[in-house]
């Protein structure tokens, strides 16, 4: 094995393109490890961790591209690897609308499109604040997808935006739909009278998708980024978005979604909600129900419940907690009976492998204190994954969290991370595998297909020791998404996956299976 590196000066490509390329090149004959990336500090650290560092990288800049590979020189060589790189890159380029003019700066882009009104920013975090500053200086609204933006920069940029009456949705904002245009990771939903402000990406996606499936539609979906409702930022964008929806004649009802905010921020939001002439539905996932109801807003017990209550209120129907299932109770019991019958007595553990962080968080909160669940986003510090004894016990993971996405794309873009967890974390003691399948713009072309492949593989592996496993899923998507809801559900069901119509119902069904297992079938 030898390690060799190619550096291409001044050749910039975005990180997602290069991470996906790295994965393709790793499949080459004779290649043991490979990383293609820009020469950023983060990537150089990653190269060192992978044992791929060589002298050529010492003078690299973040504007230079590198290919570092460890390979068997009797089976391949650097020229062949470079040729494969060029071939893959051309394939990527061909898929894209490359004949369009691509100005080099925001300034030149504005000469080309002088009436632009929104800038979507997804450059590396350390450069993002500069780009947003320039957009705000040009009186443009911003969707800031980039993460790794400091709290100080976030506060400064949001204060500047508020002073100018502009939006800065983010940092780390995954989803928004403005004037019917889905930005970044949004689902294709119909337009309608419900406006949403959301601080959590997949939480917002789940609510908008459920509203669409119930026949409703969305006026505006404004993202804020996950830190907006923390004390330091003070909810600047949620308040800005909330106020805009109150003033918007096309919006009849407003839904707010966030993890529980800082007390001082919650107070500000409650004050506006109290004065709002429009009904307000609030899902502060696991938050203070009494405080929400005290200001005349509608509190929720799940993301699906938020969508249901929004629709009921809008249609003048009774607003009540949705704690059950869409299917009749007898059918649910049959599903549980059938599932439990396939398991052996020592199959007792949950493996919840989520690509959406909010969906993972909701799952743990809905399962409540009934189970001890280890996680990388634990409900209490002692349940951190590091404290899990020999992989024994229930596990619920947010596979999109930083520790799992270093040097590789988010699992909603590339399902490989979850595929690996199916291999490494599902074993003979696993009773239920619980997953989310998130469709929509930005997501993988066939996330259901990737789950189907993993389930097939795991069933084959466990089948050799005479075991089966129960797989429960929900699909966050619509009939209008390119991956198609119905097609995705059908593919999963054909592999014996129990597909529930929402994350909340998938979690509840999982709960039923474990309740039954605890009673001894």
């Amino acid at each position: 094995m030898i390690i060799q590196t190619i550096v291409k000066k001044n050749a910039y490509y975005d990180s997602v393109t290069l991470m996906l390329l790295s994965r393709e090149l790793k499949k080459l004959e004779g290649v043991e490890e490979i990383l293609v990336g820009m020469g950023t500090d983060l990537n150089i650290e990653l190269v060192q961790n992978l044992g791929l560092f060589s002298g050529e990288l010492e003078s690299i800049t973040s504007n230079d591209l590198f290919i570092s590979a460890k390979f068997d020189e009797t089976r391949t060589n650097l020229e062949a690897i470079e040729a494969a790189f060029v071939e893959q890159l051309n394939k990527t380029d061909q898929k894209e609308a490359d004949d369009d003019y691509q100005p080099p700066t925001l300034k030149s882009a504005l000469q080309y499109l002088p009436d632009a009104n929104m800038v979507v920013v997804s450059v590396p975090g350390q450069s993002a604040a500069d780009v947003v500053d320039e957009a705000l200086d040009n009186d443009l609204h911003v969707m800031l997808f980039s993460d790794n933006v400091s709290v100080e920069d976030e506060l400064r940029l949001k204060q500047k935006a508020v002073n100018k009456g502009l939006l800065v949705m983010g940092p780390d904002c995954g989803t928004a739909i403005i004037n019917g245009a889905p930005l970044c990771f949004a689902n294709a939903v119909r337009r309608g009278r419900i406006g949403v402000v959301g601080a959590s990406g997949t939480g917002t996606q789940e609510v908008t998708v459920q509203i669409h499936q119930m026949g409703g539609g969305l006026s505006q979906v404004i993202g804020t980024g996950g830190r907006d409702l923390k004390e330091e930022i003070g909810g600047l964008m949620m308040i800005q978005g909330f106020q805009a929806l109150i003033d918007d004649p096309e919006t009849d009802l407003i839904v707010l979604i966030s993890k529980p905010p800082a007390a001082s921020v919650a107070e500000k939001i409650y004050r506006i909600a109290r004065q709002s002439a429009k009904p307000v539905v609030i899902d502060f996932i696991g938050g203070d129900r009494a405080a929400i109801e005290a200001v005349g807003a509608i509190a929720c017990i799940s993301l699906e419940d938020a969508a249901r209550k929004a629709m009921a209120k809008l249609n003048g129907q009774k607003v009540a907690d949705f704690v059950g299932f869409s299917l009749p109770e007898a059918e649910i019991e049959q599903i549980v009976d059938k599932a439990v019958a396939t398991l052996k007595p020592d199959q007792t553990e949950l493996r919840a492998l989520f690509t959406g962080g909010t969906l993972a968080d909701e799952a743990m909160k809905l399962l409540g204190g009934r189970y001890a669940i280890y996680s990388n986003i634990p409900l209490s510090p002692e349940m951190a994954i590091e404290n899990m004894p020999d992989q024994k016990g229930h596990l619920c993971l947010d596979l999109g969290e930083d520790r799992f996405t270093r040097g590789r794309p988010h699992p909603m873009i590339d399902p490989q991370t979850r595929t690996e967890f199916f291999r490494s974390h599902v074993d003979e003691q696993t009773a239920v595998i619980l997953v989310d399948v998130v469709l929509g713009f930005g997501s993988h072309a066939d996330p259901a297909g990737a789950v189907v492949d993993s389930v097939r593989e795991v069933r084959k592996r466990l089948g050799k020791v005479g075991r089966e496993v129960v797989v429960v899923a929900s699909v966050c998507g619509t009939d209008l998404d390119s991956q198609n809801l119905e097609r995705s559900v059908r593919a999963l069901e054909s592999e014996g996956v129990i597909v529930m119509p929402s994350n909340a119902q998938a979690v509840r069904l999982t709960d039923r299976v474990f309740q039954r297992l605890e009673k001894g079938n």
Partner: protein
């Protein structure tokens, strides 16, 4: 342009960063332009800070 004024307009997007976001917008026939962005000063931290100082002096 205030947020409520924005709501009355067709969204016109400048995309800076991941090109897939631009491709998604174009696939829906939305008006968008993709910036062929590169890190300032080749990403060299010292050069960036010198440029920032110059910008402030101007």
């Amino acid at each position: 342009m205030s947020v409520n004024e924005l709501f009355k307009k067709d969204l016109k997007v400048v995309n800076i960063g991941l090109k897939s976001f631009y491709n998604d917008l174009k696939s829906q026939n939305l008006t968008a332009v993709h910036v062929n962005w590169k890190p300032k000063a080749g990403g060299k931290t010292r050069m960036v800070s010198l440029l920032d100082k110059l910008k402030k002096m101007n």
